[in-house]
Amino acid sequence: MTPPKQPSLAVLRRLWPYVLPMRGRLLGSAAAALGSMLAGLMIPLLIQRIVDGPIADGDRSALVLLSMGVLALGILEAGLIYLRRQLVARPTTDVEKRMRADLYHHLQHLPLAFHDHWRSGQLLSRAVSDLTTIRRFIAFSGVFLVVNVLTVLIGLVILLVIAPILGVLAVIMTVPLVVLCRRYERRYELAARRAQDQVGELATIVEESTLGIRVLKSFGHGPRATRNFLAQARELRRIELTKVRLLAALWTLIIVLPELTLAAMLAVGGYAVAAGSLTLGTVVGAIAILSYLRWPLDSLGWLLAETGNATAAATRYWEVRDVVAVVTDPPRPRAPARPVRGALRLEGVHYRYPDAVTEVLRGVDLEVRPGETVALVGATGSGKTTLTALVSRLADVTAGRVLIDGVDVRDLALADLRTIVATAFEEPVLFSASVRENVALGAPEVTDDDVRQALRIAHAEEFVDALPWGLDTRIGEQGLTLSGGQRQRLALARAVLGRPPVLVLDDPLSALDVHTETEVEAALRRVLRSVTALVVAHRPSTVQLADRVALLDGGRIAAVGTHSGLLAEVPEYRRLLSTMDDAMAAR
């Protein structure tokens, strides 16, 4: 987590590109807001005229006429209110939509290191709650902030013109008002920022305890998880109450200062009238103007609060948007060799996790020749999975390079690279979508035949056909639950679809039972014959799929050779791969 920065209004200015397309409508909405306020103000003035004029004079037709005038103003006011809201309804939801789409797009392109680092709920709360806050600000608070401040300024100018002494009083009042408001506003923004971060924390707890419900249940951890959540919810309440207290103080200030000013004006004005330096009419007028300014002034309280919320939300939004996607397309991508031969070569590859002190990989040199299968063996945590992530650039090497057909993978367009290299992960991720979608993953121009062929290779066609809706069956979290072995076979099908020249398989057989394992193994053997493959292996059965074996130890390739050769010569390899199964089976 990055520490919360002092939010500043600059982050709101950065919203401008999003607001730009709707500037016309926004201006229109502001004009309508101003217009409806004016129309609303005119109505009592007109009523005054009616009472003083036609009714006092007994002029029936003028009464009807002026009443029609009141009606017209009333309709105008209502119409302008409608216009003000309707004009910005679509554009502001569009802003929210585009900001969310851009955030989502950006997040999808950020490297794994970023995703490991950020709490998931913090991202979610930015994508939902924060954007709603920003939308509300653009549609309402922002508009009214401008309109109301303008109204107050105009009022003050009029006051200064008609009664300079009283005007000066009002201006003097604005100095402490502005200073104190700014101070409260700043403290409010900080509290708002803390509150939104806390909302993200809550979302994280919610997400984790929902996704990890099986673990929580099997340990009877539910009540404790609830207590923990409750403590965090109370913390949010505490921060929100801080906000409330600040808002209450702000609001008190915003009410009391104009009221005291009005009292002062009444006193000064009264004595000025008594002294003959001001007329009674001027004093009444001045007081009337300040009373009209009451709503715009009062509303500043929550407008400032909303601005604080929006500033904090925008700061949080840009924090994530500003993270640079370090794994990107090169400025001038090189075209991959055609046809791809699939020679994979790691040269002096180093990798260090962004915040770690020591390197996981300390100079890995490894060559996988076209069409060859190399098994990667190493102790738990030796960096095998890290290494597989480097080939398709889910992370970038910190030193050294990874070459495919002699081209540094960082010089290839990501789309090209990830078409050439397919990766199957140890823990297969299924999306809540049809089997077809899960295998094709939305790649265009993939036919059902292609999908079926991939399923056949992964030995998954049979069980897929047995599902209630075949290829159309929804799987994943919102669909049918599959067994570990079934999931792994689908992940394999996903990887072999489209016959990628280079396959990276992270322990593809770990969750299979012995029946399926032999079958998938046979299928794999067929696949591996024609492609270059790097296969992470924990067991002899997987190792035997490979032409050669590389032992990863201490961040380097410690030995390369055949299974039997390494077993005979390298003690560490023997330790890793001579199984108890062997011992037991030999019993």
Partner: protein, 604 residues
């Protein structure tokens, strides 16, 4: 509403028809009532503050009028006293207004926050209480959106809505009475505006309910898509699903924006029409009243007062309209939330729990157990099984044979459709959840880690455990070595879902977690699939000592694990087709012997 890529699922009954709409509305009102009830006193105090505030606010103009009518003339006569009094009075009224508003905000803020904490607690506790069958049906994304964005919209209601409701109700009742007292016929004309207003509000409530229901539904889908993408980001990037995802998100996000726009546009129509009704009423009263003044049947002063009051009468209607809006949005959220709260756990805590013997021996009996997930097909047609205390049982069999189901029934993630699972002779359905979880622990293949340190994750099994207990458990499963090698040792943050650790390391941590919990019965569902051979060897060595004196049910794909067992059960289509000690079964000609041969061939 279902796109083709989503595929087909058995139950896409996400949404409700209008017939149940009323019931839902009643249910969410009940929920809101039960949330507010404990705060009635504080709420009445808040209302009282507002009444006092109204008095202070109303006093202001009177004091100004007094200052102008009496104070200034008196000052002109050389008597500054009355003016000074009026000014002082005004300043006091203004200060009182300001202080009362501040106090009201603090009070109503506290009520709102208390309600939110209460609701958050209820929903969270409920989701933890509900059984797996609920979670599998309801899915995580929707639970998350209930607890995040749905609660946001309730917060919005409590933040802004209540004040508006109070103020507007106060002035409407007060001024309405005043109008009738001033002049009954004209008062009735003025109040006639309430008939269109009532109809309008009904129209709005009905329309906005549907609209807000749809915003809630779509935002939930946006959240589901978001959460799924971020959790599967590896696969997304490796398989270039980004653009496909973006187009899916654009679709959902667009529907959400449409629903939102619809809601905003509805409220634009509603609020402006409310204002229109108010303004028309003013004009009509003015005309009719004016004519009556001309006819001499109404005093001019009464008309003036009438018109001034009328304007103030319709002003707060805006606030009321805003309240109606916040309420509609919150009501849609409350409907969904109350739906979750109304769920009864399929696997519930017993009303009168039966205590397990102390210490728990760990004798497990499946007595005529039949089980099916949904639909008529039984996963287990009829299972009878007795496991004496302390026995280690391995379950083997092909995918779909029902191995995991047996494990889940023993851990009481589900209840059998008929028959009973008994622990030390007590039906699991009669055991209090806390007792059961102390006695039976299950470790699954997916080793879910929570953000926090490695030690926190291990201690999940026994929160009161000391650091040395945690280290001892880690050492017992051979995890101590890699943990101490981490940058901060046991205090290393495992990152999101344990992203910092390898799959094998995560399994070791969850294994240590189970060990630390020290249950009488341990259920291992493919808990060692990702371990490398040395780790597995360590775990197996640990198993031999750790399982001593415990009952264990192990589902494993590896022969080595099976051979640790005292007894092997071969399952096929929910039935036990072979049962006996492994050494004996190997020598036979049954399925297990064949399996054993397959293993050996695989190893050769």
């Amino acid at each position: 509403m279902t796109e083709t890529w989503q595929g087909v699922a058995a139950e896409d009954v996400d949404e409700i028809d209008t017939a149940t709409g009323l019931r839902l509305a009643a249910r969410s009102r009940r929920l809101l009532g039960s949330l507010l009830r404990p705060h009635l006193r504080a709420a009445s105090a808040a209302l009282g503050l507002l009444v006092v505030d109204q008095i202070a606010v109303l006093a202001g103009p009177l004091l100004i009028a007094a200052a102008i009518d009496r104070g200034i003339p008196a000052a002109l006569d050389g008597q500054p006293g009355p003016l000074a009094w009026c000014v002082a009075g005004y300043a006091v009224a203004g200060a009182a207004d300001a202080l009362i508003v501040g106090a009201f905000l603090r009070l109503s803020g506290r009520i709102g926050q208390d309600v939110l904490v209460d609701l958050r607690r209820r929903v969270f506790a409920q989701t933890q209480r509900l059984s797996l069958s609920f979670h599998e049906r309801y899915t995580s994304g929707r639970v998350i959106s209930r607890l995040t964005s749905d609660l946001d919209s309730l917060q919005n209601l409590l933040d802004h809505g209540l004040e508006g409701l109070f103020i507007s109700l106060l002035s409407i009742v007060g001024i309405g009475a005043m109008l009738l007292v001033l002049d009954a016929p004209l008062g009735l004309v003025a109040l006639a505006g309430f008939i269109p207003l009532g109809l309008l509000t009904r129209w709005y409530r009905r329309r906005s309910q549907d609209t807000y229901r749809s915003t809630r539904t779509w935002v939930a889908r946006v959240i589901v898509q978001f959460v799924e993408t971020m959790n599967g980001i590896r696969a997304v990037q490796a398989f270039r699903r980004e653009s496909r995802n973006s187009s899916i998100m654009d679709g959902l996000n667009g529907r959400f924006a449409d629903a939102d726009t619809e809601a905003l546009s509805l409220i634009a129509r509603f609020i402006s029409t409310v204002r229109l009704v108010g303004n028309v009423s003013v004009a009509v009263v003015l005309l009719l009243g004016g004519l009556r003044v001309l006819d001499g049947t109404l005093a001019l002063g009464v008309l003036t007062a009438f018109v001034l009051y009328l304007r103030r009468f319709y002003d707060p209607l805006d606030e009321l309209a805003m309240f109606a809006n916040s309420y509609s949005s919150a009501a849609a959220a409350l409907e969904k939330i109350s739906g979750v709260l109304d769920e009864r756990p399929a696997v519930g805590d017993p009303v009168q729990p039966v205590a397990l013997p102390v210490p728990v021996r760990g004798e497990v009996v499946f007595d005529g157990v039949r089980f099916s997930y949904s639909g008529p097909e039984s996963v287990l047609p009829q299972l009878d099984l007795a496991v004496p205390a302390g026995q280690i049982v391995a379950l083997v069999g092909p995918t779909g044979a029902g191995k995991s189901t047996v494990a889940k029934l023993l851990a009481r993630f589900y209840d059998p459709v008929s028959g009973a699972v008994r622990l030390d002779g007590v039906d699991l359905r009669s055991v209090a959840d806390a007792d059961l979880r102390r006695a039976v622990v299950m470790v699954t293949q997916e080793s879910f880690l929570f953000s926090g340190s490695v030690a926190d994750n291990i201690a999940l099994g026994s929160p009161s455990a000391s650091r040395s207990d945690v280290v001892a458990a880690a050492r017992a499963v051979g995890a101590d070595e890699f943990i101490t090698a981490l940058p901060d040792g046991y205090d290393t943050d495992v990152r999101k879902r344990g992203g910092r650790l390898s799959a094998g390391q995560r399994q070791l941590v969850s294994f240590a977690r189970a060990l630390l919990a020290d249950p009488a019965v341990l259920v291992l569902d493919e808990a060692t699939s990702s371990l490398d051979i040395p780790s597995e060897r360590a775990v197996q060595a640990a198993l031999a000592t750790v399982l001593a004196g415990r009952t264990a049910l192990i589902i494993a794909h590896r022969l080595s694990t099976v051979l640790v067992a005292d007894r092997v059960l071969v399952l096929s289509e929910g039935k036990v087709i072979e049962d006996g000690p492994p050494s004996q079964l190997i020598t036979g000609t049954g399925p297990f012997a064949n399996l054993h041969t397959a293993w050996r061939t695989a190893l050769a």
